[in-house]
Symmetry: C2
């Protein structure tokens, strides 16, 4: 057995115990984790300092260093996140449906854990705790493979997590870290079908595509967002400009940020200059089709075919003039990633039509796509935003980390 | 573009139209299909006769010929099945959940189709119609790849299906048949991620394992069933024998049939001879562990390690004596396929414990595992029985062929 297979088997055994642990015991473990994160913060900070020093020496750029860095305030925030997960209702054992059959069989469809969840992510040590806490509350064991840049930080916090589990009487193997961060272990994880029930990649589009293309363990694709704001002819144009500004500029690096604005020809001349006034505040670079460049002038770069499919993750925006809702929804069907799509309009019929037509995890009328998020949607937590249709779609909270089983109470029934 | 890619693109476009077709239009298409199956039965029967003649010439064995064969009564039954699917409530557009957020956003989680469903199956022409009808009612386009032995039958019925779709004003491409039944097209289908949202293999364990191991399109594994009947010390032994007989013998070729009986040592001497009396009626071959052979004698074959993991699909049964519930559930965890598992007991606490502990799509107390079925569970239809935990578990009806999306009604909200 490889090291990873040994971890997989241990996780599977731990998952069996965890599946029948009650809410009280899981909550005790989460409380112990939150407490230990604070009590043992110096261990975690020391390991993180070593990671940061090594990353700096390797020339990691400032924005990535910021994602990697921990401090007391961040650790306090992470511990608070664990307490919030603890406070959420336990989904396990919830009865989704009951049926009494004519032959007297009583059926219950009950929520159960998924089993063992693999998570492959990049250099953000907070993910290690967030993911472990969510998996634990939903009764799942997890095997975490973080980026090599955060390895020392992850190893330090893993021992804090596992000690806390043990303190609460749960198996240490409910949470495990892949210590070899080479590409080989990532590949091995993608094929660990015997032990992993699902694999969730968290990180950039490249990571997610690679995992989805290679893995034989069932994958949940998350966080690919080429999101559109479609400004319909009957839009309140000032509202449209404010929403576009928010969707593009409030946090351009995240997956629910807008990457493209589509505007009806009938209002393009009024809307585009007004929108650009807002966007200029953040020096947004525009990539426009010929019509939008005619309106806004040569300060707008010409959009290439590639622009329509690009998740900029930055202060850049693609701009296209369309003839109306049909062209807009066709364009979204062709270039969207099925994440979040918005129409801005005062027209009731067009709004309803857009909501029906557009195939995405979240479809909006008159609001910013930035709301697609587990907390904003009221799930109380989030392990990612699914952009696939199987199993879960949109923000994934605790319920999306569960499966179900049928429990059947009989009294001697046999089938004819 | 390959032929399959062309079919994939056409199906994707058809799926967009079908996703917004109302229940009335889908029902009209289903009614037209049921009618046309009867009206044009001679076309289908003639093609089927050619398939049967070719299969006979190739030496296909009688039980497989029977699965391949159509006659008027079977076609009437298939048409009746389509009418039953028509009568089921349309899951699409159902609101699963609504939320009003503090900022005034109104969220609706609505059921949507999955998109395009690929189905790979063997030589049963009825599956072509059943699968098409279920996919259609749930708003999904489908691409069907049946076995080569049924090719003429499938091609004939496909033209009946597509004509009926057209008659109801829906795109013919809502249903498509892969006409090249070579292994290459099956492999191509498994990687058709651009067009297929999910792939469902239906058939023997070999087919399902191959598809699950190779495919990059998300797969739903169905129908792998190594099911156990566990006879607890406090069982009503006569009930246990009747249930075991039913679970093994009522239809041994199906996935919910029992393959192994576990019996508590305390009652093994009483139970096993009684059970064998029943099983002998169907000349069931037993594969027993040493203890059960001591009780029943050398007429029982010695069980090998392989027997514990074998889905006989036949009048054969593995037999093992266990020390009690712990050993039984450990054995089930190790050798079960997560399909259907039953305990026979009058002990309340042990029954509840077993239901909690055992991780399977369906867990029974005092009833035959043969009930794990979409019709028996009251779903009104079945496209297969999922033995995986992601997306759907247990019998899959219309709801399991859907996804969801969030619809968000705003009034200008932007995120801080």
């Amino acid at each position: 057995m490889t090291i990873l297979e040994t971890q997989g088997l241990a996780a599977k055994n731990a998952a069996r115990r965890l599946a029948v642990a009650g809410e009280e015991q899981k909550n005790a473990a989460l409380a112990a984790i939150a407490e230990a994160l604070i009590a043992r913060k110096d261990e975690w900070l020391a390991a993180n300092a070593a990671d940061l020093a090594a990353a700096r020496a390797n020339g990691m750029k400032e924005s990535l260093l910021d994602r990697l860095a921990l401090d007391e305030a961040r650790i306090a925030g992470i511990a608070e996140g664990v307490r919030q997960v603890r406070a959420l209702p336990d989904p396990i054992g919830q009865v989704v449906k009951t049926t009494l059959r004519p032959n007297g069989l009583k059926l219950e469809q009950r929520r159960t854990p998924l089993g063992v969840i693999g998570i492959i992510y990049e250099a953000r040590p907070n993910v290690t705790v967030d993911a472990a806490a969510l998996c634990l509350k939903a009764g799942n064991a997890c095997i975490l493979r973080g980026g090599k840049e955060a390895f020392r930080s992850n190893k330090a916090v893993m021992s804090i997590l596992r000690d806390a589990l043990e303190q609460a009487g749960l198996p240490r193997d409910c949470v495990a870290l892949v210590e070899d961060t080479s590409r080989e272990t990532a590949n091995e994880m993608m094929d660990l079908t015997q032990y992993l029930d699902v694999l969730i990649p968290r990180g950039g589009a490249g990571l997610i595509r690679t995992v989805a293309a290679k893995a034989h363990v069932p994958v949940i694709r998350t966080g690919e967002g080429v999101c559109h704001i479609y400004v319909h002819a009957d839009a309140d144009l000032d509202m449209a400009a404010r929403i576009l500004y928010n969707a593009k500029c409030s946090r351009p690096s995240v997956c629910n940020a807008a990457e493209c604005v589509l505007v009806d020809r009938a209002v393009a001349e009024d809307f585009l200059p007004m929108a650009w006034e807002y966007l200029k505040k953040k020096s947004v670079t525009l990539h426009g089709d010929p019509e939008s460049r005619d309106i806004l002038g040569p300060g707008v770069l010409p959009a290439t075919e590639e622009d329509w499919d690009t998740e900029y993750g930055d202060f850049q925006l693609a701009v296209k003039v369309v003839s109306g809702p049909e062209e807009a929804t066709d364009f979204i069907a062709q270039h969207g990633t099925g994440h979040s799509e918005a129409i801005i309009t005062e027209n009731y019929t067009v709004a309803q039509w857009f909501l029906d037509q557009v195939d995405a995890a979240a479809v909006y009328v008159n609001a910013s796509t930035r709301f697609t998020d587990g907390f904003e949607f009221g799930l109380g937590a989030e392990i990612g935003i699914s952009t696939q249709k199987l199993h879960a779609r949109g923000p994934m909270g605790l319920e999306e980390l569960t499966s179900t089983k049928y429990v059947v109470y009989g009294s001697g029934q046999v089938r004819e």
